[in-house]
Subunit: 109 residues, 4 copies
């Protein structure tokens, strides 16, 4: 079995034992990702990039991944494939010769 | 090689070709996750959960995953392991007998 | 009329001319605030604090304020009063003698 | 004095007593708005729009307003004016005859 499928299986097992699928519609899963992303952000607030607590980052990042995997599962997305597809699309929006060494958005290149 | 490592390798290849590692400090990666999470959320705004555009969800979710994987790489986290660790911690915060069928937070159970 | 009431009146006039009140339930207004907050955040991504585009900050901040005022109106909150109440509560969580000059959260003071 | 100026004065008084201006650069204030917006969003997670706790909404909304007012002050924005300017711009993006009764984005009208 693929590793991303193994991850999703573990998450679904945890969810189903608690009968939480009834709450996990795509919209609320998108909310959950935002909420967890905000909690990750808080670890960096008023701080330099290197001063966040690593153990707390680990926990918040795990939460973001968990809800992202559950949302991917809702839509039947293959996580590796959608990332590869996005890299391909971004390669066209950000060609190396234009994007190298600059943080500009594609519409400003 | 593990699938999550393959994903990270592809993302790093894309990033390094553009010399973007200089911008990718942990704090700004946390910002990027929040920004992409907001773009995902916008696909559900003023809508029922089932009415978001699936292709757009795919693209925004891929962005969230991409920055989350890059942040995990920054800290040297094994993505599957941190998720399994979080499931274990959540199993104690949300014991099945208390959490079954309810969406309450652990401090309200 | 109070200035915050004048602001809300202008926002409601704009909303009602378009018959958008039907979409503006409190949950989606909370989503809208998050989406606009993400767009504000994007203006600072990969940048130093002073390098965001001021005109764009102005526009995104106006969007955040607009949805925040509309949400306050939904609940009948007096904006000045809820801020003064929160300052009072925060004064107890962050007493001057403990909080002076430190960015620590109240539970770490 | 205008009401929005009174609000800002109270926030600045609270901030300066604690010598927190040193932390309040525009980028971190934008982070703070996002973090508080995420906490507001959490009050609606897995719930219907009308089921959030009103007292908690009041407190989180006050936090969002507070950081938004502090950021407006950083740039010297007149809060009422930037909202009126945005309403004017949105009136052109969303003309009544096209936008009436639909939640579509301006680029889909």
């Amino acid at each position: 079995m693929k590793e991303t499928e193994e991850i999703i299986n573990e998450l679904i097992k945890f969810r189903n034992e608690r009968e939480w699928e009834q709450f996990h519609n795509p919209k609320d899963l998108a909310l959950a990702i935002n909420i967890e992303a905000g909690e990750l952000l808080e670890l960096f607030l008023w701080k330099n990039a290197e001063d966040a607590n690593k153990e707390k980052v680990k926990a918040e990042l795990a939460d973001i991944f968990s809800f992202a995997f559950l949302l991917a599962d809702k839509y039947g997305f293959d996580v590796k494939q959608i990332i590869l597809d996005k890299i391909k699309a971004n390669s066209e929006k950000y060609p190396v010769n234009k994007a190298k060494g600059t943080a500009k958005k594609y519409d400003e290149l």
